[in-house]
């Protein structure tokens, strides 16, 4: 007779306690470090512990490094926050990269054409508004087609990225004229550059990120609109039953998500780069998807996860240069850690049940 029960069954877990979550995640980090240690020792022949110390130094060895990590964290976290409402609604906005670029481009255009024309406060305001509008437009277009014609938002938002990249490339080509590159904008007048706080221009970015982290948390958890977003995300049928105008919620939420991406573009251009190129968003628009997902749309967790990703990235770079390894080895070390941490999510949601002995004997 053949067995009826498979060897391993995957069963969904019910509620998981905070303690259990912490335990599983710590175990994942520990196992990741062990696996990495084996990899480091057997492949590169280095001492794993000293590699880990170097890795840690990538973010923490000097104050400046820590500042840089914080600067990059701000961009990543801001985009994660911008994606949170869309993802909460189960609207797969893969277009953050393009929405950030749209905001960056609008900011740069205002700096180029109005820098030195408008007084500083008005210039900042104008940059901000244009960035918000541009990002919102990039979010609105796929949302409109989703709400009206039920188009696939994943493909649509993804394609919008390439549209944005091409427009930025075209503008940069026009603006640089005969120069070999565009370089910093308004390099002489510094019009539109953020004023330094604590000696850093990007300090504004970090402050905005922290404020938005709190506001978005409250918006999603406590506001009426946040409630509507959650219901639409869970079931469109339930939303209609509750009297929610689903199309309006989809469009409104994506305008918000896009506008916040646009805001990020404004902050990156004004506060961090003072320049624009097709890599202004630098892939953060995609990395932020991981951030938003892993954090289950909790913006405070997003800060932690963004930090982890930045820490790993800086650490990998540091290892590569300190031990003269090639980039791939460092990326593998980074990847192993991510793999274990992502993998632990599976064990938080599901339980494995092995075929029991008795059952086997019965058969």
């Amino acid at each position: 007779m053949h067995a009826h029960e498979p060897l391993v069954r995957v069963v969904r877990r019910g509620e998981v306690s905070l303690r259990h979550k912490l335990l599983v995640r710590s175990l994942a980090v520990f196992l990741a470090l062990v696996a990495d240690a084996l990899f480091i020792f057997f492949i590169t022949g280095l001492n794993p512990l000293s590699v880990y110390v170097t890795m840690f130094g990538g973010t923490f060895s000097t104050g400046m490094r820590f500042f840089w990590a914080m600067r990059d964290l701000a961009s990543l976290l801001l985009i994660g926050i911008a994606l949170a409402p869309a993802f909460r609604m189960r609207f797969w906005n893969i277009g953050a990269e393009g929405q950030v670029l749209a905001g960056s481009l609008a900011t740069a255009a205002v700096m180029i054409y109005l820098g030195g024309v408008l007084p500083a406060p008005l210039l900042y305001l104008c940059m901000l508004l244009c960035a918000l509008l541009a990002g919102a437009l990039w979010g609105f277009i796929p949302a409109f087609f989703k709400a009206r014609y039920n188009t696939n938002e994943t493909l649509f938002t993804l394609m919008m990225n390439y549209v944005a990249i091409q427009i930025v490339a075209a503008c940069v080509t026009i603006w640089r004229g005969k120069a070999s590159s565009l370089g910093k904008l308004n390099i002489k007048s510094k019009a539109g550059w953020f004023p330094p706080l604590f000696g850093q221009r990007f300090a504004v970015n970090l402050i905005v990120a922290v404020v938005l982290m709190v506001l978005m948390y409250l918006y999603l958890r406590r506001s009426k609109q946040g409630y509507e977003i959650a219901v639409v995300g869970e079931s469109v049928r339930t939303a209609r039953y509750a009297g929610i105008n689903v199309a309006a919620v989809i469009i409104r939420t994506m305008i918000l998500s896009g506008a916040l991406c646009g805001l990020t573009g404004f902050l990156i251009v004004g506060g961090r780069d003072q320049a624009i190129s097709t890599s202004t968003a630098g892939g953060n628009g995609f990395t932020a998807i991981t951030v938003a997902w892993l954090a289950k749309f909790n913006t405070f967790s997003m800060a932690l996860i963004s930090f982890l990703l930045i820490f790993l990235e800086k650490g990998a770079g540091e290892i590569a240069s300190a031990y003269n390894l090639n980039d791939f080895i460092a990326s593998i070390i980074e990847g192993i850690i991510l793999f274990f941490i992502l993998g632990s999510e599976f064990f938080l949601q599901y339980r494995l049940i092995f075929r029991s002995r008795q059952r086997e004997e019965m058969i």
């Binding site: 009426k224 219901v231 869970e234 049928r237 339930t238 209609r240 509750a242 009297g243």
Partner: protein
């Protein structure tokens, strides 16, 4: 006659609910067997066991006299059993031919030419009409069904199971299907057809087997059967239920539904000129085979379903008949609420429509009220109190009111939903299959809640499937048949047979069974 399949003592339970209990039956070669039974009588479960989707808890299956093990649809196919499900399993973007080719045995060569010639032979042999190059998404429902049947035949099935094949067909398409079925029978195939429609049973089958509440009642040659005899076998003796039923006190008109017609996405008319009235202080039962318009009826009243043009649903707030009456059809749930009409609705799909599964009781309490007040933020205090109240009063078993409701058992989920809908002090309360899947105690809790609402002057509309409950709980019963109102009966004097017959046989003359008044 030669026996094709024999089932011996088949029992299958899902958790505690027994779907099939000790069922033994035979299917002969070259016959059309109708499998008849009410909703939940276990027909589909039994057929799913034959087609390898479920494995029985006990009992055995013999094919051509030999005991066999059917563990998967692939096994079933190897033994020549093929099932056409109610919901088609086709790849939309593939052509008919490509879909059939998917049914090829593992390991055989993907040769469309060869498949085409084989399929064309099948089409000719049984007089099917099917365009093999049409894509599935371009096909009508009846063409998709034909494709499913051809697919099963291509796989070499000798025993075909058709699960309510006529539910999606027009009368002409049904006639065509029947002629194809007769051709297959002449070719020696055995066909099991699951249906609720007695006239079709009489028209197509050679023999009828009846299931009731999971047990096998018996079988009878169609030639010896009458519709009333079959109805009696199907519904059984009246079971006495201990539900208190008070006389409606001072009933007055609450809802007047006139000429309600609904056409679904496929262009099929699912409700046909339905007219009836619902009164305050009474429970109006809606009986009918599942899927003959109940869902569309309730959803159109609730503002969730688009109805045809001439339809009206008029709401009367009190005795005053005309001055304050409101036509509510075509208004959204929000607009209806804005008119001050408290319309509560317990939908059939509890977690997919009535509640948000991932949210706790508290957040589910505010599903319809979250937007009240002018604050930007939701009021959590009132819903939390309400959640605690319902948890206490209805005995909802949950670790906490913030536990996602999808983690609760079916009965507790229903208590949360019904509790919320009743707490809105409705003037109309509609429930769809309010006790489906619930144990006896919870069912009685629900009956008592509904009775209390009725006594408080609410117009209660109860869509149900258990005739005993409908007869014991309701004041009047509207019987739906194929989207038509097939009569409105006084629940106190009607019989199970009368309701059963109206459910399964459409009255052709208007208002044949008369209309009871409260």
């Amino acid at each position: 006659m030669e026996t094709a399949i024999e089932l011996r003592h088949i029992t299958k339970a899902f958790y505690k609910a027994v779907a099939n209990s000790n069922v033994s039956m035979c299917v002969y070669r070259g016959e059309i067997l109708s499998l008849l039974g009410e909703n939940g009588s276990g027909k589909t479960t039994l057929m799913n066991i034959l087609s390898g989707i479920y494995y029985p808890d006990s009992g055995e299956i013999l094919i051509n006299g030999k005991p066999v093990e059917i563990r998967s649809p692939r096994d079933a196919s190897r033994y020549g059993i093929g099932m056409v499900h109610q919901h088609f399993k086709l790849v939309d973007v593939f052509s008919a031919l490509e879909n059939i080719a998917l049914a090829m045995e593992k390991g055989s060569r993907y040769d469309l030419k060869n498949v085409r010639s084989k399929v064309e032979a099948i089409l000719e042999r049984y007089h099917f009409t099917l365009d093999l190059d049409a894509k599935v998404y371009e096909m009508s429902v009846s063409q998709k069904q034909t494709l499913e049947i051809v697919k099963v035949l291509f796989r070499g099935a000798d025993i075909l199971i058709l699960d309510e094949p006529t539910a999606v067909l027009t009368p002409q398409e049904t006639e065509h299907l029947f002629s194809v079925m007769r051709h297959m029978r002449e070719d020696g195939k055995s066909i099991i057809i699951i249906t609720h429609k007695l006239n079709e049973v009489m028209a197509i089958s050679d023999r009828v087997a009846v299931l009731r509440k999971g047990t096998y009642i018996g079988d009878i040659a169609t030639a010896d059967a009458t519709e009333s005899l079959l109805t009696e076998m199907m519904v059984g003796q009246k079971v006495f239920l201990n539900i208190d039923r008070s006389q409606p006190v001072n009933p007055h008109l609450r809802l007047s539904i006139h000429n309600l017609s609904v056409t679904n996405e496929d262009g099929i008319e699912v409700l046909h000129n339905l007219s009836f009235e619902a009164f305050s202080g009474e429970i109006l039962g809606i009986a009918g085979i599942s899927g003959c318009g109940q869902k569309e009826l309730l959803e159109s009243i609730a503002g969730l379903q688009k109805a045809d043009e001439h339809s009206t649903v008029v709401y009367y707030p009190d005795d005053d008949r005309d001055s304050t009456a409101e036509q509510i059809l075509g208004k959204s749930p929000k607009e209806i609420r804005k008119l001050g009409i408290h319309l509560s609705f317990v939908p059939e799909d509890r977690l997919g429509m009535g509640l948000v599964g991932s949210m706790g009781m508290t957040e589910n309490m505010m599903l319809k009220t979250y937007n009240e007040g002018h604050h930007l933020y939701t009021n959590v205090k009132d819903p939390r109190n309400l959640a605690e109240e319902i948890r206490r009063d209805l005995g909802v078993v949950t670790p906490s009111i913030s536990t996602p409701v999808s983690f609760l058992s079916g009965g507790n989920v229903q208590k949360v939903l019904v509790g919320r809908e009743i707490s809105a002090s409705p003037s109309v309360l509609m429930t769809a299959y309010a006790v489906r899947g619930l144990d006896i105690n919870t069912s009685y809790t629900i009956y008592n809640l509904l009775n209390a609402q009725k006594e408080a002057g609410v117009a209660v509309i109860y869509v149900g499937e258990d005739l005993d409950v409908l007869l014991a709980l309701c004041d009047r019963i509207l019987v739906l048949c194929d989207g038509h109102c097939n009569g409105i009966l006084n629940a106190r004097i009607t019989t199970k047979e009368e309701v059963g017959l109206l459910m399964t046989r459409l009255n052709t003359q208007n208002g044949g069974a008369g209309h009871a008044r409260p």
